[in-house]
Symmetry: C2
Subunit: 516 residues, 2 copies
């Protein structure tokens, strides 16, 4: 059995226990863990490291690099053990989040396409040990990843030593799914030869010097499933508005048929939005995205999607079982790439993607906060949203117009944190409608967002702010002393809804607000 | 003489007066003017259009597209005449600025690399008439630009009709300097073949269908010179810090020798910073920038720079005279490209540029405002800064630590507008020092910016805010109700300096602020 998984005979001798491998990790090291979402992450070494930390008397801290978020087996365990000094480039774990917001973990919230180049150009501490899950090691000693590629190639390339977790629970049928391409060093790299979303340009394994593989740990542990909230009325309405928008653009001739490749963010809203395509007329769709969620495979099965390129299979338990059991059916339609390829600015711009990402809040001028609660507390991180929105053909943001049972408005006067500037936000969609901001100046954008996207209960309050701001003048009119008052009001009264809207609102018309 | 300039005989018949050509401009049209900075802009047609507007009885409004800022002959004249409806993608003219801030002109402040693709993909109103300055028209009827390329190729490609201004004041020795490349349609474009900063990949002329050239107007008018403020003590200190930073990185081995290609923003500070290289040891430098200012030619003359690629020659009158008189000396070292090539994300990332841009204000976490005064009033626009900072190998922002004789601090608790998020800001340099933010989490970034970059007179006030914010907690700690209070204080008291700094500051140490 194992000779199938470790095909290089000399490497068979390097099988060790996780406890033994954990002793190689020292205080101050930077560890690059495989994993993108809870797919293909290192599953057993983190526990062994946390156990080791418990019995250590000296200080013991490590920097934790990953692809993106990973399962609690890494983030919850290591942050609870208090051994994480720096963490990058993304997380979504409650325990890790809490440590970050207390300032205990120094979190570097990074564009997911950037980490590899920052390591390559020595802008970040270098990786001491890469701990990577693998399907198998080839005869040459090359490493075949499992359900994600993430930053695994750069970690393997950059690390002084590698610990491989061969996961027997990941079926060998996954072999051949990956497309590993090394773009080379900035300043000395050729154009990336990819010109179509479904094109393969690399190898199915990660090349490495097998001498760097210090140990191999055998595991048997499936990925933590991704449990998604089912579409609700609001997310269904958002999906329906998105489809209507795409339909209209195609009718106007501003979008070709078939549609350009689609990208969608990670999570329940993004999944629900993609699910909307199940009932739509669009066919021959191509996905060029960061992760492939359940909806992508539903669309493949329904014949709506003809190819899907992503960095990870991020699936529910049921869907993962289905996909792994039918891998031969998907093999020529699905490609897994490293995140510096899925999220690559060069490729996103060349392919002309339609990017669909999720906002936490949007200000009236279209600046998007996708990371912070009330300006200070980190939720997850920017992830790949910036990579896509900055370079896509059309950059769409989706959000419900309110949160916390209506006590928070997602459309606010001033974003309490900005991750995506108005320059990069083309279309905003809530359950109420579509604000197409392309070709609009700030004052026009504000009216579009207030009338098309804001929840009606907040509309007058927004208009009141905007009217007062316009009276002060400016290209992007603001009343600075009130700009963040909605957030302060929420902090104090648990709602952004203020009483007694001012009378001036009723006098103002959209046209008069544009010229005063 | 004219047969040298209009080499296609049939086109010789299309010479018209500016007044006659102006009658072709109708209400509601979108006009694409050549010009990037005050170089190579259309010089005589705008005046004729403004004159025509004066005698029109019906409403008369046009959308004005350009490369970037242009001379007052376009922006001041047309905005003063009240004929500009929409304006994009950049401006820096006092009259235009005032119209924008009054809401009279709908200004779309755009990444300079984006306009061409937005026109191509029909995301913007299409160009009815392109009005472009040319050195000459070739036998084939192709158009050779003058001192800038800007958006001229896309305007010519997209327009229904073209009016050419042949400017006899621009010497024919400029011919051959340009490198025009058409990247094609997103979704159906090959990789851009450029892999070295000094490489030519296109033609020296802009291809067009000569049938679209409706008229040719003959002018004789030099570019408006760019008058720069001479380096002062502060900008010299900034340049000196920059050089020390680059020197140190090279010594550490994190930057190669020779340095990666350099980009620098537009204006006096940027020019002064480049001037610093005159006294430095770096040689074999390459420039891959948006505009080529005086300092670039000084560096070429001094043998420090071996090649310079840009989108415009933006020079003082004296330097322009010198350059035009010695074009044969510069011809093999200088390349002028369209702005979607100078500012192209694909190329910036591939070449691994060191990008140096100017900030108006930087918040303590490294978010940069490069456009708005006190959050509302537009200064110029984002220009190309976002194109470069988002994709460069190292993204550096420079600014004096104070403005208005110290009454404004450039380092503030919360940016009143965000153009470049902390994800894209690697290094900040003021006359006080260098904050190298790479690999730092927000709380660490704050201490670096406060101690290295802020003016000493504002340091305690910043620490006081940061201390209070850290006590509230969060990844990016803020006191939202005080976040914009510095700006409000300035508005009311004409200074950001508040009296009586709190006592808590003295108790807080950098280390204690990181962990609480």
């Amino acid at each position: 059995m194992l000779t199938n998984r470790i095909r290089n005979k000399r490497l068979l001798e390097r099988i060790v226990s996780k406890e033994q491998a954990a002793t190689w990790i020292s205080h101050g090291m930077t560890i690059g863990f495989s994993g993108f979402t809870s797919s293909g992450d290192a599953k057993t070494m983190p526990e062994a490291i946390a156990e080791r930390a418990k019995v250590m008397r000296e200080p013991f801290n490590i920097n934790v690099y990953t692809g993106a978020s990973v399962s609690p087996a890494i983030d919850a365990l290591l942050s609870a053990a208090g051994v994480v000094h720096k963490r990058l480039p993304f997380q979504s774990d409650p325990t890790m989040r809490s440590s970050i917001n207390m300032g205990k973990v120094q979190y570097i919230d990074q564009h997911l396409s950037d980490t590899a180049d920052q390591i390559r150009t020595l802008a970040l501490p270098q990786v001491d040990i890469a701990i990577v899950e693998a399907l198998c090691v080839t005869e040459e000693g090359y490493i075949v990843p499992t359900t994600s590629c993430g930053n695994t190639p750069i970690f393997i390339q950059n690390a002084k030593e590698i610990i491989v977790e061969i996961n027997l629970a990941q079926p060998l049928s996954l072999e051949g799914l990956h497309d590993i391409y090394d773009p080379g060093m900035p300043g000395n790299r050729p154009p990336i030869p990819l010109i179509k979303a479904d094109q393969r340009i690399g190898t199915t394994y990660i090349k490495t010097n097998p001498g760097k593989i210090r140990g191999i740990v055998i595991t048997h542990c499936p990925d933590t499933p991704k449990n998604l909230i089912q579409p609700d009325e609001d997310t269904k309405a958002i999906a329906s508005h998105l489809l209507a928008f795409l339909r209209q653009e195609m009718r106007k001739g501003t979008l070709p048929c078939p549609l350009p490749p689609l990208q969608s963010g990670v999570g329940s809203v993004a999944n629900a939005v993609f699910h909307g395509f199940m009932q739509a007329e669009f066919t021959d769709l191509q996905i060029y995205s960061e992760v492939l969620q359940d909806s992508v495979f539903d669309l493949l099965d329904a014949g709506k999607v003809k190819s899907a390129s992503g960095g990870a299979l991020t699936l529910s338990a049921e869907k993962m079982e289905h996909v792994l059991a039918n891998m031969d059916h998907y093999r020529d339609k699905v490609i897994l790439r490293p995140q510096e390829m899925t999220n690559n600015p060069e490729l996103i711009r060349r392919l002309g993607l339609i990017a669909i990402n999720t906002a936490l809040e949007v200000d009236v001028y279209g600046n998007v906060n996708s990371t912070h609660i009330l300006g200070s507390k980190m939720m997850n991180g920017i992830g790949g949203a910036g990579d896509f929105t900055r370079n896509a053909r059309i950059s769409i943001f989706v959000t419900k117009s309110t949160a916390r049972d209506g006590r928070i408005s997602s459309i606010v006067p001033f974003a309490s944190h900005v991750d995506h500037t108005e320059h990069d936000v083309a279309v905003v969609i809530t359950e109420n409608g579509v604000a197409d901001l392309r070709g609009l100046a700030p004052r026009e954008r504000a009216l579009s967002l207030i009338y098309q996207c804001a929840h009606p209960v907040y509309r007058e309050q927004l208009l009141s702010y905007f009217t007062e701001a316009c009276q002060r003048g400016g290209h992007t009119p603001h009343v600075l002393e009130k700009a963040l008052s909605w957030h302060s009001h929420y902090r104090e009264y648990d709602t952004m809804l203020m009483t007694a809207p001012t009378d001036t609102v009723h006098e103002a018309t959209p046209h008069s607000l544009l010229n005063q």
